[in-house]
């Protein structure tokens, strides 16, 4: 262990890591490799969000062989399977034990301040001081819900993925799922299977087949270098960082989770939820275009994969290219719905997550409430962030993307500390 003992509730170290999820632990591992003294402050338990803030059936979008962190990798007998939440928690718990990570659990950070290069992290247990801080508190602390949520008729329940656990907690009536990313479609699918009638309000989304040419899509994106794409490889980094999660689910039967599968199972599609007028829900007339955009974008991804595979050493072993049916959309999708008259009892807002920086008292947020950073390096010297979508590369959003980011950030951090030492 490279930090004060677990019993200590305050003190001074070189680095404070906020959050003991997989990114905070990976940072800790890399700091220990560099013999940088640090503590990890964790509001709850190790892997707290995975443990307490996700729905029961959630599985990782990445296959087990991709589950790896610095100095640690999946070693089970099902490399092509997908971890359920108990597996993820076990995986991260084991990592923390392996790293002997100096985690101070049940320690909630209430404030982070910086004065003349000295950081003070106030917690509900005591104050910590350091020369550097890594924010590893996660990208998915709070449900991000559009304003229109406030206009849902009062006798209809509104639920977010943050409080949703399983269909059993919902009333029996129809459910409007708002959002068609991984979360929206996974939850729509299981709610539909529970016997409830489901309508999905579809905005912009990312369509992706689970398997392509006989292999997992993540294998292709990894092999073709798509997951390694960095800031210079995309036109607009803000757009890349704000992309909804791809329509994937990690299931043993390699289920394809796209809108055609949803409508094939009997669910209905409407456009993006725009508002309510006299209690009547109004949907955008742009459904066809958002589907066309996603279909075209998926084709470009498959083209990229095919171009790569044609010149790769394994070319002869791959199954032939496939193309998927375009998203089927009704000629005239429904534009208005009287939710009460139609028997809806729940609106589930699967409209994304956002980080919680309510404790962050250093002015580093942009006007949209996001941390301004350059590949995880914040303009305030000694302050870093990890675990955000496309932090440095497309894979930054995934567990296996953590290693590169953690090594880069701890390398930068070590140089920063030694430059201070030499002054």
């Amino acid at each position: 262990m490279t930090g004060p003992s677990d019993g200590q509730a305050s003190g001074t170290v070189d680095t404070i890591v906020i959050g003991a999820g997989h990114t905070g632990l990976a940072i800790s591992h890399c700091l220990s490799e560099r013999s940088i003294e640090h503590v990890i402050l964790e509001r709850g338990e190790i892997a707290n969000s995975w443990r307490h803030e996700r729905w029961d059936s959630l599985t990782l979008l990445t296959p087990n062989w991709q589950s790896r962190l610095p100095g640690y990798a999946y070693s089970g007998d099902d490399p092509d399977g997908f971890m359920a939440m108990p597996d993820v928690i076990g995986f991260i718990d084991a990592y923390a034990a392996l790293c002997e990570a100096p985690v101070h659990a049940q320690t909630t950070v209430t404030s982070l301040r910086c004065h003349s290069g000295a950081y003070t992290v106030a917690t509900d247990k005591g104050d910590w001081h350091s020369r550097s801080v890594v924010v590893a508190s996660g990208a998915c602390n709070l449900a991000s819900v559009p304003k229109v949520c406030d206009s849902v008729p009062k006798d209809i329940d509104t639920v977010t993925p943050h409080d949703y656990r399983n269909p059993g907690q919902l009333r029996d009536g129809k459910v409007l799922v708002v959002g068609a990313s991984a979360t929206g479609l996974q939850l729509a699918d299981e709610i539909h299977r529970s016997g409830r009638s489901v309508t999905i309000a579809v905005g912009e989304h990312v369509r992706m087949p689970r398997t392509y040419r006989g292999r997992d899509i993540q294998w292709w994106m990894h092999a073709a270098g798509v997951l390694d794409e960095g800031l210079d490889d995309v036109d607009d980094i803000n757009r890349a960082r704000n992309l909804p999660s791809p329509q994937l689910v990690g299931s043993h039967d390699k289920q394809i989770l796209d809108l055609n599968a949803m409508t094939g199972a009997g669910m209905k599609l409407v456009g993006r939820l725009m508002g309510f007028q006299d209690g009547i829900a109004q949907f955008s007339g742009s459904l066809k275009n958002v589907c066309a955009l996603a279909d075209l974008k998926m084709r470009r991804l498959l083209d990229t994969i095919d171009e790569w595979s044609a010149v790769s050493p394994g070319a002869a072993t791959f199954e032939p290219p496939e193309r998927f049916e375009r998203t089927r959309v009704d000629a005239a999708p429904c534009l208005v719905l009287d939710l009460r008259d139609e028997g809806f009892e729940t609106v589930l807002f699967a409209t994304g997550y956002r980080p919680d920086y309510s404790w962050l008292d250093i002015p580093v947020l942009d006007r949209k409430g996001k941390i301004r950073h350059d590949e995880g390096v914040i303009t305030v010297p000694g302050l870093y962030v990890i675990g955000l979508p496309f932090l440095r590369r497309r894979k930054s959003s995934f567990i296996h993307g953590t290693e590169d980011d953690a090594r880069y950030i701890t390398g930068h951090l070590e140089s920063f500390l030694s430059s201070q030492d030499s002054q």
Partner: protein, 188 residues
């Protein structure tokens, strides 16, 4: 000159990208106000003008005033001195999407040779005549058909048109609800 810069659809993409960058830094300058004034002439004939607008933090003007006559056709017992207002909506949508196609094509280095849109919108006028309250006043739907000749694949052309819809103001105005406030100042 490289092959890429030889694409010319008459759109100054560099200026647009510069403006986008500048407005990202100063979002308040991105707040525009569009205006038109409309004067009743006679019968269903009205004459509208546009000239001033607000943007980039100050009052702006078109290079000159533009005038639009609107009326209804003779089958409505009108004098047909101009397009119907609903046709003007179609013109607005088609011209907005077309401008978007040119801009996106320029940005993506696609040379356009010709772009032609035809737009059609069915409407049951039992709505506006108050015959059947279940029939809405507006269009039942709008169909835009593009014929595009460009130095690009069918797929790239489809992507142009899709992206243009995604970024179009009038597409948004037509497909999504907007609060409308009408105030009256009586001087009788």
């Amino acid at each position: 000159m490289s092959e890429e810069t030889s694409v010319n659809n008459g759109v100054n993409v560099a200026a647009l990208l510069e403006a986008r960058e500048a407005l990202t830094q100063t979002p308040e300058a991105a707040l525009f106000k569009w205006r038109a004034s409309c004067n009743w002439e006679n019968g269903t004939h009205s004459s509208s003008t546009v000239e001033s607008f607000f943007g980039l933090g100050e009052e702006q003007k078109h290079v000159r005033e533009f005038t639009f006559d609107a009326d209804h056709p003779e089958v409505f017992a009108s004098a047909d001195k101009g397009a119907t207002p609903v046709e003007m909506v179609l013109v607005g949508l088609a011209s907005c999407l077309t401008a978007g196609i040119a801009s996106v094509a320029q940005h993506r280095d696609i040379q356009l040779n010709s772009v032609k849109a035809t737009i059609e919108a069915p409407m049951d006028i039992q709505g506006i005549l108050g015959i059947d309250s279940d029939v809405r006043n507006g269009f039942e739907g709008v169909t835009v058909k593009y014929e595009i000749d460009a130095d690009a694949s069918q797929e790239d052309i489809e992507a142009l048109v899709a992206q243009s819809q995604k970024r179009s103001a009038v597409f948004d105005i037509v497909t999504n609800p907007t609060n409308v406030t009408v105030e009256v100042n009586s001087t009788g």
